[in-house]
């Protein structure tokens, strides 16, 4: 399932509805991405005030569904969930949540890791960091491209 929303969410409730009483589910791997402070060692910590996520709604929905379908074709997944937020988020707020439920743990772990890596390079979101010294669009990370390459 795909949810693209402004609102925060409750992880326990999302996991609950993911398993939905399916007694074959023994393993759930999840990932939570949070707004965190920048890696800039030249400036004091806590320079980030907030972050605004922009996206391309129709394409986001389409790409996330494709990513989820690809994960289900590669691993034995009983159910999965991707929640991605947009709009302005404060430091420490949840940005993204991915959960994969399976009978066995390695399927769940690998599918969740894959979903995050693909989402980072395929889903049309852009982060604008708001700091005390101005606003900056986040640059893409080479390491994200490499992470996505692993699954090709």
């Amino acid at each position: 399932m795909i949810k693209v929303q402004k609102e925060d969410f409750n992880i326990s409730e999302e996991i609950e509805s993911l398993t939905n009483g399916d007694s074959a589910i023994g393993a759930i791997s999840t990932f939570v991405g949070l707004v965190r402070d920048q890696d800039n060692s030249e400036v004091p910590t806590s320079v980030l005030k907030s972050m605004t996520l922009e996206h391309y709604p129709a394409m986001t929905e389409k790409k996330l569904l494709e990513i989820e379908t690809e994960a289900k074709s590669r691993w034995n997944i009983k159910s999965s969930l991707i929640i991605h937020r947009y709009g302005q988020l404060e430091l420490g707020e949840k940005i993204v949540f991915v959960a994969c439920a399976s009978s066995h743990r390695q399927d769940a772990f690998d599918a969740c890791n894959f979903l995050m890596d693909w989402l980072k390079t395929e889903a049309p979101f852009w982060k604008l960091e708001e700091t005390h010294s101005g606003n900056d669009w986040v640059d893409k990370r080479e390491s994200d491209d490499k992470a996505a390459e692993r699954w090709k």
């Binding site: 996206h55 391309y56 394409m59 790409k63 889903a123 049309p124 669009w137 893409k140």
Partner: protein, 83 residues
Amino acid sequence: MKILYFAWLRQRIGTDTEEFVLPNEIETVEDLINWLITRGSGYADAFAKPEIIRAAVNLEYVSFDHSLDDEDEVAFFPPVTGG
């Protein structure tokens, strides 16, 4: 044709959506970029480094040699940074 801009392309161009009837000689995404650049300094600034821009046509990533149709929805944006 509907054209969408996101993130700093949107900011530099100063709008998020435009509708055009394109000149006949525009056949590919690359032709479209070269035509947009002639429309003003905001466009020239936005497309100054075309090699880092990504393009999507009808919600699918495409390369710059992709052929365009008048009914297409074309989007230009920087590399994605979600997740």
